[in-house]
Amino acid sequence: MGAMLSPDELRQIELSPYKQDFPLLANNPNLAFLDSAATAQRPAVVLDAERTFYETMNANPLRGLYRLSVEATQAIARARAHIARFIGATDEAGNPQADAIVFTRNASEALNLVATCLSEAAGIKAGDEIVVSIMEHHSNLIPWQQVCKRTGATLKFLRLDDDFEISDKEIAEKIGDRTKIVSVTQVSNVLGVTNDIKKIAAAAHAHGAYCVVDGAQSTPHMRVNVRELDADLFAFSAHKLGGPLGIGVLWGKPEILDAMPPFLTGGEMIDSVTETDAVFSPVPQKFEAGTQDAAGAYATDAALTYLEDHDMDALEARERLLARYLAEQLQQKDYVTIVGPADPARHVGAVSFEVRDIHPHDVASILDMSDICIRAGHHCAQPLLNYLGHRSTCRASVAFYNDKADIDKLMVGLDQVWGIFHGHH
């Protein structure tokens, strides 16, 4: 069990020096935004970047032969290189694998792309096994369910032990010679726990299987290094780390992306077309049919720069303190039960909880009237909640721009919720 925050640690989270950079937060000083696991707020530099793109370099990227279009194309290329560096996707010589960065609309689309195209490349058939964890977001579950329905393959689940961990024994039992693909989330959007991807990837590779990682909840909160993890494919969304809505990223080992067939087809993804056939462009264009959101890519570049300028390690350390404080404060309330590890230090960003005998939707609605934003429901992880014996939970989640006051406000709000249901408000 982690120790309570020390006076020095409490001082570190007392005020947020970052809120002023986020227009929505700066303009709503009373708002306690505790739903960053769903989507983060965006700093002004990201909003400015989106505008700058349209004001100074707007043209259809890739196809135009005039300078404006070239600038748009270069903006996308720079964003790819920056994203590759940000997630540690480098080649042997340490150069960013910019061409292994595929833009999608969101992490869900990236994972759908992988499920469809990797399954085809791997020749998934009846008798094969695909392994996911019980804590997957529906985005990393339903695409694999669909693959199994189409091919007759079997979907297996890595389940959790009493301490919300995937044990070595579980990994050894579920990942075997029939396993062709293992697809797991790095951080749970419900429990906030981190899975040992390195270990799971090693087990997958030992059996000749691919390892796909859903990085939607990890990438915003920790330094990710896909090489160190030895992931084969890695997906995340820009909007959860301060980038714009509508941009997702898929990185893959180049030889694997090369072997995968295209996902969507059409313009901007072909080299040549005849009446009956087409030659596809190389990766990443092969996976990017249609006009891309170049402004979104340019703004994502700016979001990463913002995080780096403020020192990703410092932001991560601050978020860890905030999440710890959140979990510790919730544990102080005898009518609150945390759904997830008891150790406050194990919560990355998110803490799920229940208020005794009060439906999470009522909790969230009442908190909302005091400008406190939390999530309530099944968090797109129904199998996990069923497995844990819950229908729905409340979830509060933090980002570096939150401060102690946001969490204190939540605690006052929860007392109010409790009071309303117990006749004293």
Binding site: I358, H359, P360, H361, D362, S365, I366, M369, S370, G377, H378, R391, S392, Q416, I420, F421, G423, H425
Partner: protein, 145 residues
Amino acid sequence: MDITSLYNEQFMDHVTHPDYKYSIADAHFVHDGVNPSCGDELKLYIKLDDEGKIDECAYTGHGCAVSMASADMMSDLMVGRTPEEALALCDLFKGMVTGSETDTDKLEEELDEAALLADVSHMPSRVKCAELAWRTLSEMLKENG
């Protein structure tokens, strides 16, 4: 919106001390209603009198306070109504929570206590919760009509 405008004492009384949360063994009609996304589950029981009017309406199940209070208020309102009258009230309630019916006098006169749930029209995520019992009753009456 004030915090107690919806979750006021009258509303909370229906949640903590419901009058109609029980099953009716000799019900004429029993119908299930669910809100899959919330996990709200409701079983609605109706007993008719000799003239075909609703003699007794009750429910069992679990869900958020909005869905349960709404079911309790509705059960009270339905006693003595013909199926046609009940269906019209269900439509009126739906109009209220979806914001298409805003005539406060009419709502208070016809829906009685259930008019307390008018604020739900400003809370799109809770409309389904408020509607559950009314939707279930409406389905039940239409199936057996």
